[in-house]
Structures are given as structure tokens and as C-alpha cells.
Symmetry: D2
Subunit: 137 residues, 4 copies
Amino acid sequence: MTPTIEYEYQVMFFDTDCAAVVHNLAYLRIIETARTLLADQLGLQMSTMAERGVYPVLLRTEVDYRKPAKLMDKLVVKGRLESVERVRFWCAFEIIRPSDGTVFVTCRQSLALIQMPAARPMRLPDDWATKFAHLRQ
Amino acid sequence: MTPTIEYEYQVMFFDTDCAAVVHNLAYLRIIETARTLLADQLGLQMSTMAERGVYPVLLRTEVDYRKPAKLMDKLVVKGRLESVERVRFWCAFEIIRPSDGTVFVTCRQSLALIQMPAARPMRLPDDWATKFAHLRQ
Amino acid sequence: MTPTIEYEYQVMFFDTDCAAVVHNLAYLRIIETARTLLADQLGLQMSTMAERGVYPVLLRTEVDYRKPAKLMDKLVVKGRLESVERVRFWCAFEIIRPSDGTVFVTCRQSLALIQMPAARPMRLPDDWATKFAHLRQ
Amino acid sequence: MTPTIEYEYQVMFFDTDCAAVVHNLAYLRIIETARTLLADQLGLQMSTMAERGVYPVLLRTEVDYRKPAKLMDKLVVKGRLESVERVRFWCAFEIIRPSDGTVFVTCRQSLALIQMPAARPMRLPDDWATKFAHLRQ
């Protein structure tokens, strides 16, 4: 089964800029909350990992800004595990407005698990090979 | 001639997270400052454009996180105009630490000029075709 | 009746800094979301006000940082209308962890309604004098 | 002598919101950079302190928003050590536009030195009693 997440978010003042639309950085902060909830489903509970000094770290973000969202828009971030490699995995996100189906942002991000403070990348958990066999690359 | 920029930045507390490294969103905020200075060189002065309701908007960001920077690191963002199309142009950035040459982040971003509030994309200024002929795609 | 709000929030990576605790700016961003929900109850719907060019603006913030919250802590912001003057009103907030009653932050903020772009302060709505008579100063 | 700092800052897009003015949180982020530079003068070098697990932490912020700054405004933060107690010290800041003397924001912040991860407050360095005798409370 493919882990997926839906996260609802309403646009606040601090998300907007003086072009009267949501600022590009704000979308990525909103996606990060969705990614954290998705990581929970992947067995990567942040609080546990922080205690062990293991952190999922971003390797790459690709983000397309398609339409501008506005103050108080009610958005949903849809996220899913997209593919799994040996050390790296990819998540895909889109930010939509359910009321009319507008797609504001699409985004792919690759991550790895890093042991801190050495910043050494680790192999992904062994059971991912079977659980996410359909997502292996 | 290719417009380029160098922007110095020292890492602050608010740039870091509890993994003791610079947070992924902070690098993009730092790059945005560099991009604004680069836009100035391109004749896209922000204050003028805001008055006319014309804004350079981000269409896409591709960013690779290569090494983790830390509190009080003295960074430099190097930016340049990478390529020019009819409506869209690309900028390329890297964030380095000059003291030892470490490359922390590399990033490409495409932008267009948008007329607000209609959010209508505009053709790039006519003189770009000649000024940046060597960057045409 | 005194307008009150409760807003739940879980601490994300981007809320923390390299001292491994929530950064002081993050608490104020979280409070701003609670304040927006409280404003809704006061009849100050942000989307309506933005259309009319009327914005509730912050005049003053007083915030005490009492205990440090950590990654993934489940927090609640409790907010209420504290007092009402002719042009200005005060809101009070505290950020707690319901699981053990820890109080992390207490905060008071005064606001006024401003007509933009002139940035002219307006009298508070006439019906506040009766609705919030018990909060008049 | 009273430690003071001046820090220049130009308003970026990410500092503004859809009321077309600088967002209240942005001023405090800008002040934090000034405060870090001021701390340097106080002998509280952030990188050293982070290594020793000692951090200057904010106890309280009082901030008054007086005038709204705008995109690309060239601001200066003026900061100074205001007063010194046994465990706590106060800094004062104002954000002005030198071109016309406008004062946008005034702010006072109290801080203490905290030993992490125990979060135990420490006495201020012994030599402060003599160096800042004129600021003792």
C-alpha cells in the first residue's frame, strides 16, 4: 500500500506577500508539515528520531508554482510516497483548493535518513523493500 | 555580459533547526535576497515594479541540499542569469563557504513577469533579446 | 460574553532552532493563527476585510517566554479578547501543553483597525460598546 | 561604555504581507540579527556558546509597531545594551529609515544565559558588574 496524507491548511497573513498572494516559501513550509505527517506513516516518528539523532533530511526539492493562492484560502496538501531507492526516497505533493479543484503547487522531494551529528546517510529500513516493493526504483 | 551577483550572509539562530543545521527553507530565503539583488541588475527594480503592479514571480525551483551549514557560518550566495526564453528566464545559485570552498546548496529557479492583479504573464523586455543573446534558448 | 479561542498546534522542525527548542519567532507565528481565528469571532473576517482594505494591525506585543517547547510537542494556544478601548483592543494568549499543563508562553497584543492604503486608524465597530461592555477600559 | 550596534537591512518580498507592508514577525527577525551582532560585542559569540551549550535566550519581548515599512525600504536597526541585572539583561532596539528619520518599530528584549540541555539560567559574567556598572539595576 502506498502511504498517503491529506493536510488541510488555511492561508494566514504571514503566508502572503505584497503581491497579495501566497509567498513561495510559505507553500514549502506548508508542505513540510504534510511531509512530517507522511513520515509518521512511514514509521519515521520525528520525536523518536530526534532522540536517536536520526533525521530525515531533504536532498532535493522540485516545486512548480502554478496558480497564486490568496489570504484565507482553504487549501489541502495531498502527499504520497512516490518511490524508494536504497538510501533515498521520493515524496510527491500537490496543494489544491478542494472547493473548485484549483492546483496551486506541485512538488517532489527526495529525502534520506541521516545519523547526526556525523551527518552520515543510512540505508532505509529493511522492511521497506517488501512493504513498498511496488515503489522500488 | 551575464548578470551575476554575490551576496554575503552569516547564519543566524532562526536559520537553524533542532538537527543543529540550517533549515531547508532558510537557504531559499537567503537565495531570495540574492535573487532580488540580481533582478536589480536585470533592470527589474522591485520598488518600481510593485508600483506598476508588475512582479517577477517564481515558476519553478530546483534545489539540491549538498552539505549542512551551521550557526554563524559565513556564507556567500553566487547567482547568475542562466538562460532566457520568450516569457520565462532561469537563474542559477550556489551557496558556498568561501573559507574552505564547501558548496552547501545549488539551485535553479525560473521566473516570469506577471501583471497583477490579473496575474497575466508578460513578454520579457525587448532589449533582453540583444543584451542576453548568448543566453537565449 | 468574552470571545475566546483554542487552537491546537504540533511543533514542526521549522519551529525549532539549534538550541533544540522552539524558536521565539515561531511562537508568535502560532499565536497569529490563533489571533486570526479569534478575529473571526469578533466579526473581523480577514478575507472580507482584505477586500475592503481594512486590516486589523498589531500595535504592540508583550510576550514572556517561560519554558522551552520541543519538536513534536502538542501545544494549545488559548486566546481571548481581554479589553476594549475606543480605537484599540487587547487580546491575551497563552501557549500550553495540555498533557501536563506546562505554560510555555504568555502574550498580550493590542490591535486597531486600519484603513489601507491610507493607514488611517478607525473607531471600533459601534456594537462592541454593548457586546463587550464588561471589557471596556 | 554602552555596547551599541547599527545594522542595515533592505525590505524583501518575504518580509511583506498582503496589506503591502512589512509583516510584524519580519521586524522581529531583523531585530534578532541586530541582537546577535550586539551579543558579539558583549562577548557572547554565538558559535562559541553553541559549542559550550550556553545560549542567550529571550525571556521577554515588548515591541511597538509605529509606522508600516514597505518593500525595498532601506532600514537601520539601532540596538544597545539598556540595563543589566544579576541573571537578566535588557536590550533596546529601534528600526528607522535614515533617509527621513521615520521610526517604524521600537522594541525592548530581556535575555538570560541558559545552560542547555538542562535549561538552567546562569549568572551573568563577573566582569559585567564593572564593565556595565552604569547600566546596573
